[in-house]
């Protein structure tokens, strides 16, 4: 089973996770820019974070045979902090980089005017840079948040078929599917979706334009949830082609809209036994 996790925050994960992910079949990931649990206080923190997503993290992933890509954005939560807002001016120089495959995560957290502005601005940036967008739907008041999100996208220069609407569930899947957007589902141990409900939704709505991710981060989450969904799909009677479509071909098709996917893992040519990570020379 080849797996592309289209949403996972590897910065917060260990090399044990990379090893287990590779063993489970994960060969490619996209790491969306998001908040770090601890609020940032300046654009400089974002710069270091973006640089890590374009430097150290792809190197770590390559050690474990996993192709790493990222999406770049000011996240909705921190769009409300005036100390962070100036990072919007820094985004264009990041959005031209190789391996940046979308603008994201953008969207709503508390649905504030500041979030409206950041979302609209960044949808325009996506259109300007030939990139699709990864749009997070809010945890609270989700259906209202989805509707407002879709309205803003419709008013933007970015067509809905270049937008992945993420963290969907039973209450939001239908409207999201009708909009023509790509459909993302985050499978979590407690919140968001679980494997059983995910497979039920796949049966009801089909695998077309569906992407399943672990969204694993610094909170309680499981980087192997993609594999667990694949296993349950097979157990519940889906064919291998359906699994491959959801877990590999759909994410490749969506992020491939950027023209910047590079799924051939470039290893660190000078490393034996991965020991620069296990115990660096310094």
């Amino acid at each position: 089973m080849r797996i592309f996790d289209p949403h996972i925050h590897m910065t917060s994960r260990t090399t044990d996770d990379y090893e287990a992910m590779h063993a489970a079949g994960v060969r490619a990931v996209v790491e969306p820019s998001f908040w770090l649990g601890q609020p940032r206080t300046s654009p400089d923190s974002f710069r270091d974070y973006f640089d890590a997503l374009l430097g150290w993290e792809p190197f770590r992933a390559a050690q474990y045979g996993i192709a790493h890509h990222c999406t770049i954005a000011l996240n909705p939560k921190e769009a409300n902090d005036p100390r962070c807002l100036p990072v919007l001016d820094e985004l264009p120089r990041y959005l031209v980089k190789d391996r940046v495959v979308a603008v994201g995560e953008i969207g709503y957290d508390s649905m504030t005017p500041a979030e409206d502005t950041a979302l609209a601005t960044q949808l325009q940036l996506a259109a300007d840079h030939g990139l699709p967008a990864l749009v997070h739907t809010p945890h609270r008041d989700k259906l209202t948040g989805l509707r407002r999100t879709l309205d803003v996208v419709r008013e933007s220069a970015l067509p809905l078929d270049r937008v992945l609407v993420d963290h969907l569930n039973e209450t939001t899947v239908e409207e999201a599917k009708d909009s023509g957007a790509w459909l993302g589902f985050s499978v979590y141990p407690d919140t968001k979706m679980d494997e059983v409900r995910m497979v039920a939704l796949l049966r009801e709505y089909g695998p077309e334009r569906v992407l399943v991710n672990s969204a694993a981060d610094w909170g309680r989450s499981d980087p192997l949830k993609t594999r667990k969904v694949g296993d349950l799909m097979l157990a519940e009677g889906f064919g291998e082609d359906d699994v491959d479509r959801v877990l590999w071909r759909n994410p490749v098709a969506f992020y491939g809209l950027s023209g910047r996917l590079e799924l051939d893992v470039t290893s660190a040519d000078a490393t034996h036994e991965g020991n620069s990570i296990l115990r660096g020379g310094a």
């Binding site: 080849r2 060969r27 490619a28 640089d51 374009l54 430097g55 150290w56 792809p58 190197f59 045979g65 192709a67 264009p92 120089r93 031209v96 980089k97 190789d98 391996r99 490749v252 491939g256 023209g259 910047r260 996917l261 590079e262 799924l263 051939d264 893992v265 470039t266 290893s267 660190a268 040519d269 000078a270 490393t271 034996h272 036994e273 020991n275 620069s276 990570i277 115990r279 660096g280 020379g281 310094a282």
Partner: protein
């Protein structure tokens, strides 16, 4: 995107002999790239180099050649990106200030290309802070790229010895260290450091890297018994 199959591991932009874009003059690099790129990539490169030569300065928030530098991987493919980026930097006649900016704002791949470009663009030691930055990382691709002809020429002895040791720690083949023979020859302090490292590995029940014996032989000096010399302070 160039490929949809996963899991294939390729070396990053150098051949086993340790030849990198730092070692090949730009004219030779361009000839080799022209021969290997397909039509679309070749046309992109030709245009990128013409633009860089015509407009080397900064225009607006970002110069056009810096945009080309950013997209070289997806235009030329990862195997040719290093060489393409070195050629863009060379065509733009990037000086130390420009190289510092591009390095600090660059992805790991762009930073590596800046390191490869140094011997072609910077005659003096002004760009050493970039080499030192790369040597502080644990990204072995950057460490290896930092130890090209520019470092061989300019890196001070203490830092150079530590860089060689770091190669042994992190598995960077010492073939990647430019001018290794010349700089190692007669270096008794390097010999002492290597012997101490070998002793540490042996005490831990670990193997001693083959490369360590090679460098030790290159020093041509007899190391003192392990641990008898005064250590030079600790690195943290």
């Amino acid at each position: 995107m160039t490929q949809h199959d996963a899991g294939h591991v390729t070396p990053a932009g150098h051949d086993p002999q340790g030849t990198t874009p730092a070692h090949v003059p730009p004219t030779g690099l361009r000839a080799a790239l022209t021969a290997e790129l397909d039509g679309a990539a070749r046309a992109w490169l030709d245009q990128a180099l013409d633009e860089a030569a015509a407009h080397p300065g900064t225009h607006g928030p970002i110069s056009v050649w810096e945009l080309r530098l950013a997209e070289a991987g997806r235009r030329c493919g990862p195997a040719h990106a290093d060489a393409a980026r070195v050629l863009v930097l060379h065509a733009a006649r990037a000086d130390t200030d420009a190289l510092r900016r591009v390095y600090s704002q660059g992805t790991a791949d762009e930073r590596r290309a800046v390191l490869y470009a140094l011997p072609h663009l910077v005659p003096g030691p002004d760009a050493l802070p970039l080499v030192e930055d790369a040597l502080r990382t644990n990204d072995t691709r950057l460490v290896a790229a930092a130890l090209g002809p520019y470092a061989a020429r300019h890196l001070d002895t203490h830092q150079w010895r530590h860089a060689v040791l770091k190669c042994l720690f992190t598995g960077v083949p010492v073939d990647r260290v430019a001018d290794l023979d010349r700089r190692a020859r007669g270096d008794a302090e390097l010999s002492r450091m290597l012997a101490d490292y070998a002793a540490e590995r042996t005490a831990a029940g670990r193997t001693v890297p083959e490369d360590l014996h090679r460098v030790l032989a290159l020093t041509g000096t007899e190391p003192p018994a392990p641990g008898t010399a005064d250590p030079h302070g600790k690195e943290s």
